[in-house]
């Protein structure tokens, strides 16, 4: 020892105190507070449980509701005052009429503005309207898939992968095998286009009853339409059954869904 700290008389060895807490209290109440004023390092009341959070949320809801009511009352008062200015203070009926006219005029002005905006070729609103129309068209089946712009969904993009394919249910001939034939309805048939003619084994699994034995079948793609041969059983639970269509090497080339 050659420099500071300065040596002094020997004391009993220092030991760090035993602490009450040895880590953060990560529970919601350890950190999040209500907005209520309370003295302390952090203002607010700790939310120590879900109930506290609910109570705080309800309080907040009351405040929001009160603010909305107050705002609505102010709006009504202003409208009434506007009506009275237009028709005189003694005629409530005229005031109501004037207020109605005021609202109507406002709406018409808004619509005219919207029409004007949509007519402007450089306005982004036009692009939005076009997108919306296209969307509505596709929803109601008015837009043929072939006419979709090529750039809407690049092949292999995640956005395309994220949404379920919109392939309509293909005509599929059903051939029931076995003695216990159940009514089968095809709910979905998604098969890769240009699939080489083949007879592919399929196994349907119930989407609701996980333990139910699978339904064995075969998909023949060499015909038009393809043929699905499937064996049904009396004990098989009703509901949706789903099967993967795979090539011999396991590559999945389609999905079939049937309903018993």
């Amino acid at each position: 020892m050659s420099t500071a700290p300065e040596s002094s008389q020997v004391k009993r060895p220092f030991q760090r105190p035993v602490l009450e807490a040895t880590g953060p209290n990560r529970r919601a109440g350890g950190f999040y507070r209500t907005a209520d004023d309370e003295q302390g390092a952090l203002p607010g009341i700790p939310l120590t449980g879900a109930e506290d959070a609910v109570v705080a949320a309800v309080r907040l809801g009351y405040k929001v509701a009160a603010a909305q009511i107050d705002r609505s009352a102010r709006l009504a008062r202003r409208l009434r005052e506007a009506g009275e200015r237009a028709a005189g203070p003694d005629s409530e009926r005229k005031a109501v009429d004037a207020t109605e006219r005021l609202l109507f005029d406002s709406m018409m002005t808004g619509l005219e503005w919207l029409e004007g905006v949509a007519a402007d070729p450089s306005c982004p609103l036009k692009r939005l309207v076009a997108a919306e129309y296209r969307l509505l068209g596709s929803l109601f089946g008015l837009t043929p898939g072939a006419e979709k712009p090529a750039h809407t969904a690049p092949a292999g993009s995640d956005a395309a992968a994220a949404r379920p394919p919109q392939t309509p249910v293909a005509p599929l001939r059903i051939v029931l095998l076995g003695a216990e034939r159940r009514a089968v309805r095809v709910k979905a048939c998604e098969i890769a286009p240009n699939l080489a003619p083949a007879e592919l084994p399929v196994a349907f699994y119930s989407t609701q009853a996980i333990d139910a034995p699978p339904l064995e079948g075969q998909l023949v793609t060499s015909t038009t339409p393809p043929i699905l041969r499937v064996t049904t059983w009396q004990r098989s639970p009703a509901g949706l059954w789903r099967a993967a269509v795979c090539l011999a090497d396991g590559e999945q080339v389609g999905i079939l869904e049937i309903e018993l």
């Binding site: 020892m1 050659s2 420099t3 500071a4 700290p5 300065e6 040596s7 008389q9 004391k11 060895p13 220092f14 030991q15 760090r16 105190p17 035993v18 602490l19 807490a21 040895t22 953060p24 209290n25 990560r26 529970r27 919601a28 350890g30 950190f31 999040y32 507070r33 209500t34 907005a35 004023d37 390092a41 952090l42 203002p43 607010g44 959070a53 705080a56 949320a57 907040l60 306005c123 982004p124 939005l128 997108a131 919306e132 296209r134 969307l135 596709s138 809407t152 969904a153 690049p154 995640d158 956005a159 994220a162 949404r163 919109q166 989407t207 609701q208 639970p237 009703a238 509901g239 949706l240």
Partner: protein
């Protein structure tokens, strides 16, 4: 002081003068009964936050330093510190060099930075930059928290969430072509943005164009937000339905409905984007936000007693994918920017992205929802100048005047490198430090004499080398200092970086005295990892507009070049010039001529272990390697952002000015500084998945006269940043006193 009074005092040794060590010293200095000695291996304070001035006054940084608006504990320390600075009248204009500091108040030292951006390629492989103006919030970080500005309330989180979404929506949507680097941002868009974002009380009748754009944005953004909200609700409903085991038939029907709605909503989002490619980035951001909301609900983390730590075992991207994010969203520039900013690459390898999900989410929640003032703050000089110089001066002198709180002095010992920690283990699971051994670069007594008086230059800055200690070093090459427990100190705060800590505490010769025989320390050593980093600064003879960058100063990440992040640092030029003018005044010379510098750019990135190994760990070789990276960047990589710097044979490299302001620009001396941080405490602490739970808290008591501090400890934030280091320093002091500061005083320590 009597012997008895001295005997009652607790002698604390702090090893390491970075943010953590200085925060601990700051806390202890305000408490009566503690004698504090701080040992630092360098000639300056700051650690990873250090900066120095060269002989021309240029600010040479360890790395790129930005403070976030949620650094409540760090800002509180600096506000207290600058209150002392102001009370003493220290500042850049003082005549006496010993009373000078680069800044006289915290508002001079720090200023808000509301602009932040990320860069990325669009589908046509062209560069695009998204930059956002983040709204100012009530209050200032570090001020006492009052009900008006308290961000830690449910109401505040909700309000700020809506505010943020609104801002992001408004700032992302813009006319095509407006976000191409190198092309001026259209005036009308900029004007509209400002009007829409900042002034909601504008007179629509006087500004019909603004009204039209505003309505269009609201409509277009409304479609997305509505769809996003539906999707979020449906996904949560789906999860809720799975929780309640309904009858199979009923559940199947409901699931079909839910799946259909979710699919249709995704389709809506996708179709809108397909019509307008400009919205793609927005949907990626929405995707991430939705996924976070759904994931937080599914994993029940906000009400889990472990909080977000419950998902620290998984990488942030993997967690997002697990909860339904698309691949394009997790590979988006926003995500790349987050990983770049925190160097989240295992072994520094860009192909090994790794960031603990809980730490990332906690950081995001704190960053977006609890900032006060601005989301980012910049310093008008180096971090060493703005932070560590005033802390050093105030702590060195102590205070006891006026109505300010009394503050004891801290004794500094520079150029003392901790070489060994000798431990005694009398019990199986608890030990004590017996001795601390330091290696000094010079005569210890002579070093201490300078440490207490003359470690700063004429402007109150740290030099970029140990020239002020040269006389002490010359007296005796390398020295040694040994401190003995109970004789020289009572308790130690080891506030070094984790690499130096491990090196000092491992005792290969005597396994019984090896700290890492204890399981928690052994696990910490195994799992807590670091990465090397590189940084570069260039002084240019053109301003940003002349370089072709018209979006103003800001912080741009995810560049995808040899350096992932670029920040404009032109605002530091004033302090560099003030440094030179003060020197001229002291020497009674005429004011220095202009140096021709029009802008300063700083870059930083991670440095892979392979790169370090290929240079054999030699600093010179590695510096040359990073210089080549910098030149590659300036010769080609930055062309998309500074297009006007490139014409014919000319590149941005030709815009570098001479290092010596006395010489004319273009004299052949490159105006650049390259920094490699690959050894010991220079390295950046990573928040790797699976490692966070193995961090050791400063509250750990397995060594009864020792605690630890640093951003590598379990300090509540558990991320490599200033705030984490300051929190750990406060925790270390709590561990010693048992009460002050209380855990509630450490803002954010309990954050879920």
């Amino acid at each position: 002081m009597t012997e008895a009074a001295r005997a009652d005092r607790v002698r604390v040794v702090i090893v390491g003068g970075g943010c953590a060590g200085m925060a601990a010293a700051w806390q202890l200095s305000r408490l009566p009964g503690y004698d504090v000695h701080l040992y630092e291996r360098s000639w300056r304070l700051g650690g990873k936050g250090a900066s120095g001035r060269d002989e021309h006054g240029r600010i040479l940084e360890h790395g790129l330093h930005i403070w976030l608006g949620f650094y409540e504990n760090a800002f509180r320390m600096m506000r207290e510190c600058y209150a002392e600075v102001e009370a003493r009248g220290w500042g850049p204009a003082r005549e006496e060099p010993q009373d000078r500091l680069p800044h006289g108040s915290i508002d001079e030292a720090f200023f808000p930075e509301p602009h932040v951006g990320v860069a990325g390629h669009n589908r046509a492989h062209e560069w695009e930059v998204w930059s956002g103006h983040l709204p100012p919030m009530k209050g200032r970080p570090g001020d006492p928290i009052d009900p008006e500005s308290n961000p830690f309330t449910l109401v505040s989180y909700l309000a700020r969430c809506f505010h943020l979404i609104k801002t992001l929506m408004l700032s992302v949507v813009g006319p095509p072509g407006g976000d191409v680097p190198g092309q001026p941002r259209p005036e009308e868009r900029s004007h509209s943005d400002e009007a829409v974002e900042l002034d909601f009380s504008f007179d629509a009748a006087r500004s019909p164009r603004v009204l039209v754009e505003r309505m269009a944005r609201m409509l277009r953004g409304g479609v997305l937000t509505t769809a996003a909200g539906v999707l979020q609700g449906v996904t949560i409903l789906e999860d809720w339905l799975r929780t309640f085991k309904l009858a199979p038939q009923a559940a199947g029907t409901v699931f079909e409905f839910v799946e259909a709605v979710a699919a249709q909503t995704r389709k809506l989002l996708h179709d809108v984007v397909a019509v307008d490619e400009r919205l793609r980035w927005k949907t990626e951001l929405i995707d991430i936000v939705i996924t976070i909301a759904v994931g937080l609900y599914r994993d029940r983390v906000l009400f889990d007693e472990r909080g977000l730590d419950a998902i620290n075992h998984i990488d942030y991207r993997d967690w997002l994918i697990k909860h339904g994010a698309t691949r394009t969203a997790v590979d988006s520039p926003f995500m790349n920017g987050i990983y770049d900013l925190v160097f989240a690459y295992r072994n520094g390898d860009h192909d090994k992205r790794a960031l603990a999900a809980g730490v990332a989410l906690r950081g995001a929640l704190r960053m977006f929802f609890t900032y006060r003032g601005a989301m980012f703050f910049r310093m008008r000089s180096g971090m060493g100048d703005a932070v560590f110089s005033p802390l050093y001066k105030v702590l060195r002198e102590g205070t006891a005047t006026g109505d300010r709180p009394a503050r004891g002095r801290v004794t500094f010992h520079f150029l003392h490198a901790l070489s060994r920690v000798e431990l005694d283990f009398e019990q199986e699971d608890a030990g004590r430090i017996a001795r601390l051994v330091f290696t000094t670069r010079g005569d210890p007594a002579a070093l201490d004499a300078i440490s207490g008086t003359a470690a700063l230059d004429h402007f109150g800055c740290w030099p970029d080398d140990d020239r002020l200690f040269a006389s002490a070093a010359g007296k005796q090459g390398e020295g040694s200092v040994t401190l003995h427990a109970d004789e020289d100190f009572d308790v130690v705060i080891l506030a070094t970086g984790v690499v130096d800590f491990v090196a000092a505490c491992a005792d290969g010769a005597d396994p019984k005295a090896d700290l890492f025989r204890l399981p928690q320390w052994s696990a910490m050593r195994k799992h807590v990892q670091t990465a090397a980093t590189k940084a570069a600064q260039v002084w240019l003879n053109r301003d940003l507009d002349e370089l072709g960058w018209h979006r103003g100063p800001g912080l741009i990440s995810a560049l995808g070049t040899p350096f992932g992040t670029w920040a404009d640092m032109t605002h530091t030029l004033g302090s560099e010039r003030a440094w030179r003018e003060a020197r001229a005044r002291d020497r009674k010379e005429p004011p220095p001529p202009p140096d021709g510098v029009r802008s300063v750019a700083a870059f930083c990135s991670v440095l892979s272990n392979d790169e370090v190994e290929s240079a054999d760990g030699a600093r010179d070789k590695l510096t040359e390697h990073v210089e080549r990276d910098l030149h590659t960047l300036l010769e080609s990589g930055i062309a998309s952002f500074w297009p006007l710097a490139f014409s014919g044979e000319q590149t941005a490299l030709d815009a570098l000015v001479a290092a010596d302001p006395q010489q004319a620009a273009g004299s052949g001396i490159p105006g650049q500084h390259v920094q490699v941080n690959f050894a010991g405490s220079e390295r950046y602490t990573l928040a790797l998945p699976g490692s966070i739970g193995h961090r050791v808290s400063p509250l750990d008591r397995s060594v009864t006269n020792m605690t630890i501090a640093g951003d590598w400890t379990a300090c509540g934030l558990d991320a490599g940043c200033v705030e984490a280091a300051v929190m750990s320093g406060m925790l270390a002091v709590h561990a010693i006193t048992g009460h002050t500061p209380s855990l509630d005083d450490i803002v954010g320590y309990h954050h879920p």
